[in-house]
């Protein structure tokens, strides 16, 4: 007799068990991620991370790869670096530039240098602007960030043939549909330098092959690479929409960037707490914490229940101050971290880290829901 069940025709109900508590972890595989920070701010070029990402080709299928580099544009560090995909340079570009000039000035407008790759089909024309918004142009109490968010929503929802996917200062996102090494060669990733990198090798199921669907995802200072599928997407999206965010990328990953932005920037929570809200401890654990900690965790969970992310995920989220890796509450996706001197690595696989650094001092598997944070000194 199955103690947990009763039969439909059986009128006498059987004593049912409370569900058991035996947490365990499953390593699913879909997409590979790797990220590195040099905490002293020393720049690294893109060649090592390209090799590390290519090593995880088993985790991808050649339909999407991308790189994010912080510190990419030191000469234009005070400008927002806007990266766009244009379908052509005639119609959408004029409309986009008209919109940009409405709210600020374009300092530089240029095609992102690329070199043709035999295995990579050029779907779009990557373009970049260095841009300065005028906060006063909105009249109200709007900040520069508000203007950028407005422009991003406008371009991505109303201007066909243009997609704005990178809006940070001194940050560059380079992504396309293809294998990691081809995408890297296409953008000549090795020519860029920065103090922190995020990279992603994709096996898409949701938005296959679309360049805009490749990772990393960026919003202002935030960048995200994500392995997994967020089963709470509907809840998270509807929560974010009530704060004025618009989800336009047709993928669940963007909610990570928006949630982090909402909690860490707009609600000014310390990053550890913001991440805790996304993958909080279980109530059983919270109930047994010392009083102050219990109060804090209960309040966070009750206030931010709609920000809780469910489903399997391993994520690295970054801003100009550092990187943070986190997994879902039962670690249904792999994540490993390692340190070597000033450098902190976070990746889906240890082997990928070892491609970048042979001589690791410390390597560990973070527990489910426990953030790994590396900050620039």
């Amino acid at each position: 007799m199955l103690s947990h069940y009763t039969y439909f025709a059986d009128i006498s109900c059987l004593e049912s068990l409370k569900w058991g508590k035996a947490p365990f972890t499953i390593c699913g595989s879909m997409c590979g991620i790797i990220s590195v920070i040099d905490r002293s701010g020393e720049p690294m070029n893109g060649s090592a991370i390209k090799n590390a990402l290519s090593l995880m080709n088993e985790r991808g299928n050649g339909e999407g790869a991308g790189y994010a580099v912080y510190g990419a544009y030191p000469d234009y560090a005070d400008y927002y670096a806007l990266h766009l995909f244009y379908d052509n340079l005639v119609e959408p570009k004029a409309i986009v530039e008209q919109e940009l000039e409405k709210w600020g000035t374009i300092e530089v407008s240029e095609m992102i240098p690329t070199s043709e790759q035999p295995r990579l089909r050029r779907e779009h024309i990557p373009w970049r602007y260095f841009y300065k918004p005028y906060p006063k142009s909105m009249g109200t109490a709007a900040t520069e960030e508000d203007i950028l968010i407005h422009i991003m929503n406008k371009i991505n929802t109303e201007i066909p043939g243009a997609l704005l996917f990178s809006t940070g200062k001194n940050i560059g996102i380079f992504k396309a549909s293809g294998w990691p090494e081809d995408v890297a060669e296409f953008y000549r990733i090795q020519d860029y330098e920065g103090y922190q990198w995020l990279a992603h090798n994709r096996y898409p199921t949701n938005t296959s092959g679309w360049w805009g669907g490749a990772h990393p995802f960026n919003l202002l200072d935030w960048t995200v690479v994500h392995n997994g599928e967020i089963t709470s997407y509907g809840t998270n999206r509807r929560y974010l929409e009530s704060f004025g965010y618009k989800c336009t990328m047709y993928t669940d990953t963007e909610v990570v960037a928006y949630l982090t932005d909402l909690l860490a920037r707009r609600h000014a929570l310390p990053l550890e707490l913001a991440l805790k809200a996304l993958a909080p401890p279980f109530w059983d654990e919270i109930d047994n914490m010392p009083e102050n900690e219990r109060q804090l965790n209960t309040t966070i969970r009750m206030a931010y229940g709609s920000a809780l992310m469910n489903g399997p995920f391993a994520i690295v989220v970054a801003n100009s101050e550092g990187i943070a890796g986190i997994t879902d509450r039962i670690k249904l996706r792999p994540l490993v971290a390692a340190e070597a001197g000033e450098r902190l690595y976070i990746s889906s696989e240890e082997a990928a880290i070892r491609v970048m650094e042979q001589d690791l001092e410390h390597i560990w598997m973070p527990r489910a829901g426990e953030p790994v944070i590396g900050r620039v000194r």
């Binding site: 709470s232 809840t235 999206r237 969970r301 206030a303 931010y304 229940g305 399997p312």
Partner: protein, 505 residues
């Protein structure tokens, strides 16, 4: 002008070969359907209400019950119910009262909504082997959390939580008053709810002292009649609910026939014995939203801001805007009662024709509260026609925090939905105050039925969530992406914000 009798609703037959003349049927039927003459049980089928008590108690399965043995000439418009209502009113000239919920023949929207499950790209979560969290806090939540980092790196919490009800399941038991139902029924429900770590409503009939042991699991109700309300009552409840309206009869007050008001009901309700308790349609101190906000604050002030205050409204056409007004008062939760909600007694025309289904109401309220940026700060409790754990799961996915069940909880006590609650002769000891009938329901045994029902549904919700790859109920709430509409029209799909079956992510 006599028009003779209408055809009998039921035909009861005794199989005399099986009958052993134990007379259980005679004892059990308070309507006088059976009598013994000589060596035979004789039957007056016209007295039968279809309550099944005799069938349940007959040790020989010797009773046969047939519904509508003689029907009218069929007609698509002039149904049996339409014709009989006219005969009834031609005879009496009065408003027809009816029990239980809406009998309109339209399919529940729930049955046209399908749930999701995981395959391959994300693993389902097994609730037998991994933690699954259904704990639900009902009450006001802060819109954001503020903290300060001390010089030593410790984090100090600056945000203080308002009082919330901690429910271990999103299933609560709705308000059914002492008077409408028996004390033994209330005791069974209260003990069952407490055993499952959840809550039940008192209804508008006050709180009998025998329920005091369960008061920490009871939500006391303040309705337009203010029956049973004093400061002691308010202070005993875990939460207070202001009842503006109910789904079975939006726009009018409660109806308790004097037959059900005995000594004890009279004392608890604070009304004279045998008096009809007809609550006023509106609260006489609430003629606007600001009056409601005052009453919410008044009740909070009286109980020193220690208790959450809920406001219950019927799902009417403009339910979303009304709920939004309530959400922006000091109220901690809005209760929405859909048009399938049950009742002990309601005018038939209200029961069947006023209000809207809970599915559409929850979707509209959730959307409006989000639009006004207050959804996350207030809880939404939905009720009215929730039949099983799938209905609960769908209601939460549409945007509710928790549900109230009423009829389902009574069915767990034996109720057969015969719909004769207003007669005060409930053979199951539920909707009656007659001591011999009430004694049939032993709360020391029957609380387990209530507890089992909630436990069973809770296990099923955990399984449904796990299959959908969700291990915390917060991630189900408002997650309409995990619902698909099957044979619903486009307008309704827009209101529900649900895609059609076959549509992907």
């Amino acid at each position: 002008m006599p028009i003779g009798s209408t055809p009998p609703k039921y035909r009861v037959r005794i199989d005399n070969d099986r009958c052993m003349l134990c007379e259980q049927c005679i004892e059990n039927c308070p309507y006088g359907t059976f009598r013994k003459e000589g060596n035979k049980i004789l039957v007056n089928s016209r007295a039968c209400t279809g309550c099944h008590r005799c069938i349940a108690m007959c040790p020989r399965d010797a009773i046969d019950l047939e519904e509508k043995p003689v029907d009218y000439r069929s007609h698509p418009i002039w149904t049996r119910e339409a014709r009989e209502a006219i005969y009834n009113q031609a005879r009496t000239g009065k408003i027809i009262l009816a029990g239980m919920g809406n009998i309109l023949e339209v399919p529940p929207i729930f049955d046209r909504l399908l749930l999701d499950a995981c395959q391959v790209t994300n693993p389902s979560i097994d609730p037998l082997r991994e933690p699954m969290e259904l704990r639900t806090y009902i009450g006001k939540k802060p819109s954001k959390v503020e903290v300060a980092t001390k010089p030593n790196g410790d984090i100090e919490l600056l945000t203080h939580l308002a009082p919330n009800l901690k429910c271990e399941t999103p299933i609560m038991i709705g308000h059914m008053s002492y008077g409408a139902i028996s004390l033994n029924a209330q005791l069974s429900l209260a003990r069952g709810a407490a055993a499952q770590g959840t809550f039940m409503g008192t209804g508008e009939g006050g709180l009998h002292k025998h329920l005091y042991p369960y008061q920490d699991h009871m939500i006391v109700q303040v309705a337009s009649g203010r029956f049973g309300v004093d400061i002691d009552y308010l202070e005993r409840g875990a939460a207070i609910e202001i009842k503006i309206g109910q789904g079975a009869k939006p726009g009018i007050g409660g109806h308790l026939p004097g037959e059900k008001v005995d000594e004890s009901v009279s004392g608890t309700r604070m009304i004279p014995v045998s008096s009809d308790a007809i609550s006023p349609a509106p609260h006489h101190d609430i003629y606007s939203i600001e009056d409601l906000a005052q009453l919410v604050r008044g009740l909070k002030e009286a109980t020193e801001w220690k208790k959450p205050v809920f406001v219950k409204i019927a799902a009417v056409h403009n339910v979303a805007a009304i709920a939004s007004g309530i959400a922006r008062s000091s109220a901690d939760a809005v209760v929405i009662d859909g048009f399938r909600g049950g009742t002990g007694a309601a005018p038939r025309v209200f029961r069947d024709h006023v209000g809207i289904p809970i599915e559409a109401a929850v979707a509209a309220v959730d959307e409006k509260l989000r639009h006004h940026g207050v959804r996350n700060e207030v809880s939404v409790i939905a009720s009215g026609g929730i039949r099983d754990s799938a209905d609960v799961t769908k209601t939460i996915a549409l945007g509710a925090d928790a549900v109230y069940i009423g009829t389902a909880a009574l069915i767990s006590l034996g109720c057969r939905v015969c719909g004769s609650c207003y007669r005060g002769l409930c053979p199951w000891g539920i909707a009656t105050q007659r001591p011999d009938l009430v004694a049939r329901l032993d709360p020391d045994i029957m609380w387990e039925n209530v507890s089992n029902l909630i436990n069973g549904w809770t296990l099923e919700i955990a399984e449904l969530m796990g299959a959908a790859g969700i291990n915390s109920i917060e991630s189900l709430r408002g997650n309409r992406d995990r619902l698909r509409a099957y044979m619903l029209d486009e307008n309704l799909m827009e209101v529900l914000d649900v895609k059609t079956v076959g549509a992907g992510a």
